[in-house]
Every structure is written in structure tokens, then in C-alpha cells.
Symmetry: C2
Subunit: 130 residues, 2 copies
């Protein structure tokens, strides 16, 4: 698994790690039951502190995407999108979509981009995107 993390970015490292792992799950690179690298191992790969990796894993655990276990390590779990998550996600989507609209992009253009991104994920079957 290759995670693209930019140590010079203004986005916190632990957030980038979380984002890249979430994308790997959506992409199908990580499926239910997939083990994640040990915190110290992943930290050594990037040359960062293992506490930073720990923070990223803790975020993923709070969101119900992985399960942490002394026995099995960090493992991807099947997640359920409950109503609170859907509401909070929609609010964030609203802000992001508004930014594109305010910048002059048309709704059709924006939707096409979203469709293209969703199609690029390995987990979404073609018939899901009408």
C-alpha cells in the first residue's frame, strides 16, 4: 500500500494519513479485514513519529472505519453510515459544492466531476452510477 503524504503541506500529517487510508478503503485497496501496518512500522516508513500515526489510527477508529486490537493490530471493519453521519457529511458537502458554484462552475460540470471520481473507485459497481 502506497500512501502519498506531503510532510511540507499545511495540512496536518495525521489528517493526510487518515485521508489517504479512507481513500484506500473507498478504492478497494483496503477491504474488510485488511490489516494496516503497525504504527511504529508506518512511522518509520515516513520518517515521522509513531504518535502521529497513532493519532491518525485513533481518528479512523472514532469514525468506525478500523478496529484496533493488541492481538490483530489495526484492521479495516465494515462501516455503517448512520443518519448523524449522513447529516454531517451533507453539511460538509454543501460547503465544498458551494465553493465550486461560487467559482462559476455549472452544476452539470460539478456532478460530472463527482461521478468521475466515484467511478475511479474500485469498490463502486458501474450500475451504481446512472
Amino acid at each position: 500500500m502506497i500512501l502519498n503524504v506531503d510532510l511540507e503541506s499545511d495540512v496536518p500529517i495525521y489528517q493526510q494519513l487518515r485521508d489517504r487510508i479512507v481513500e484506500a478503503i473507498a478504492d478497494g485497496v483496503l477491504t474488510h479485514g485488511s490489516p494496516l501496518p503497525a504504527t511504529r512500522t508506518l512511522a518509520a516508513d515516513f520518517g515521522i513519529n509513531f504518535h502521529t500515526v497513532n493519532k491518525a489510527y485513533d481518528l479512523l477508529r472514532q469514525q468506525g472505519l478500523i478496529r484496533l486490537n493488541r492481538k490483530t493490530g489495526a484492521v479495516v471493519t465494515p462501516a455503517v453510515a448512520d443518519p448523524p453521519f449522513r447529516a454531517e457529511w451533507t453539511a460538509r458537502a454543501r460547503t465544498l459544492l458551494a465553493e465550486a458554484v461560487a467559482k462559476g462552475l455549472s452544476a452539470g460540470d460539478i456532478l460530472a466531476t463527482c461521478r468521475s471520481v466515484l467511478d475511479s473507485f474500485g469498490t463502486t459497481s458501474p450500475e451504481d452510477t446512472p
Copy 2:
């Protein structure tokens, strides 16, 4: 113009202000040429420091959404979505969409939500959303 800002949120106030103004532009509440309140006025309305409002306005100016002028104050300007913006926006959309997919939402479900949000904006004409 009513801006919903939560002073207790963990999201920075200047970022919330920026987000709400961007949404107001997408919504058509603020159109090209619309004047924004003076920094000290808006700060007084929310009971916050005017430097915080200044930071939000500065962000909007950096993104080319408003123009700051000693003569006219802060005014909404017609923005153009250049290729660098589109690329950066798509990257952010990818992260957000991945989060929904990882949570188990279907691509059709996600697209329907995006379409619904876009339709709720007053600036997008109905024929833009096929």
C-alpha cells in the same frame, strides 16, 4: 444576510465565516457587486474581534471571490475557475467522496445527495442538473 456561526465549534470562526459567505454566494443571496458588511460591523454583530472577520475576508480575497477596497468596502466579484483550482477542488472532493464510500454509501446515493444540494442553490438553473 444571516450567517450561522457557532462560536463553540472546533472549526475556526474565520473559516466558518468564509464557508457561510461562500454558501451565500452559491445560493444567490450574494451576487456580483453585492457589498459585504464592514469588518467592524460584522464583528460587532457576532461579538467577536474584527481581526477575525478580517482574516475571513482576506481568505475570500485570496480565492478571488471578493474584492477589498477602501472606497467600496468588500464587494463580491465574478470568479473564474481556473485549471489549478479545478485540480485542487477535485482532490478535496475525492477525499470527501471517499469518506462516504468507505462508510458504505452507494455511488447513486452520494450523487443524489450532491444533486439535491446543488438544486438547493438559487444560482443553479434546473436544466443544469440532468
